[in-house]
């Protein structure tokens, strides 16, 4: 069995860019549909990707999202430049958020982003360095 990607694409996203927020996830969803991935798997990938993308828009300076599709899985890696997460365990707790009032008023910052990613991906790895940034890597089996 080969792990060679049948598809690979990168997207650049910027922090605080609420105008384009969600665009990468919407594009990834369309790509997965075009490749012919099952709708239920697409929905999970799109949700996980959207939450990760919004985390960058809300909290980081910029990021690269890399989508890799192999015959076995969809792998999405989001590598951001930002403040990082001091306590990943705490950030994973549903309801925990460091969002400003302004972000909360828009309906973000409910402390559900990372839990939503965990619930929709088969695997999720978070590597964060305070002051430098956070890398999320999630995979969904096909």
């Amino acid at each position: 069995m080969s792990n060679e990607p049948v598809f690979c694409q990168r997207f650049e996203i910027s922090g605080k860019d609420f105008i384009n927020a969600g665009k990468a996830s919407t594009t990834i969803k369309a790509i997965l549909r075009e490749i012919g991935i099952q709708p239920a798997v697409i929905r999970r990938a799109a949700i996980a990707c959207y939450e990760a993308e919004m985390n960058v828009v809300l909290y980081a300076r910029k990021a690269i999202i890399e989508l890799r599709v192999t015959p076995q899985e969809i792998r999405i890696r989001v590598e951001d430049e930002g403040d990082g997460i001091p306590d990943v365990g705490l950030a994973m707790q549903p309801g925990y958020s460091t969002a400003s009032d302004e972000i909360r008023e828009m309906g973000f910052g409910a402390g559900m982003g990372l839990p939503n990613i965990k619930n929709n991906a088969d695997t999720l790895q978070i590597h964060s360095v305070v002051g430098r940034g956070t890398t999320l890597e999630m995979a969904i089996g096909l």
């Binding site: 609420f18 105008i19 927020a21 969600g22 665009k23 996830s25 919407t26 969803k29 929905r43 799109a46 949700i47 959207y50 939450e51 919004m54 828009m106 309906g107 973000f108 409910a110 559900m112 982003g113 839990p115 939503n116 619930n119």
Partner: protein, 114 residues
């Protein structure tokens, strides 16, 4: 029941194009927290909310919701309407507060997932 049926019966304003009005409604979900909607709404749901900024369109598109219903007579931001057109999302508006509107939807037989 389609989006059009509900819009007519509850005299909801249509703020987007007429495309998408024939979508079948599978139920409803009410929340103003975007991640909560992402976690708990179902495809084909009506989403009742007071959020009006453009990011609601991405949520509705990702979750394949039938329509967004804004309460309290709220009007979407201008760029929300542009985005809705691009993504073929439907936005309806009601003059009622959420509690009253949801009560009427429930009486029509629209339910949430429990």
């Amino acid at each position: 029941m389609t989006v059009r049926d509900v819009a007519i019966r509850l005299a909801l304003g249509l703020l987007t194009e007429s495309e998408g009005l024939e979508r079948e409604i599978t139920g409803g979900y009410a929340s103003d927290l975007l991640s909560d909607v992402i976690a708990h709404s179902q495809a084909g749901n009506l989403w009742i909310t007071l959020q009006t900024h453009r990011n609601i369109i991405a949520v509705a598109t990702l979750k394949e919701l039938a329509a967004i219903v804004l309460v309290n007579g709220r009007t979407p931001d201008a760029d929300t309407l542009v985005k809705a057109r691009e993504e073929k999302a439907v936005i309806l508006s009601s003059r009622l507060p959420a509690f009253e509107l949801i009560g009427q939807l429930y009486q029509m037989g629209i339910r949430g997932a429990v």
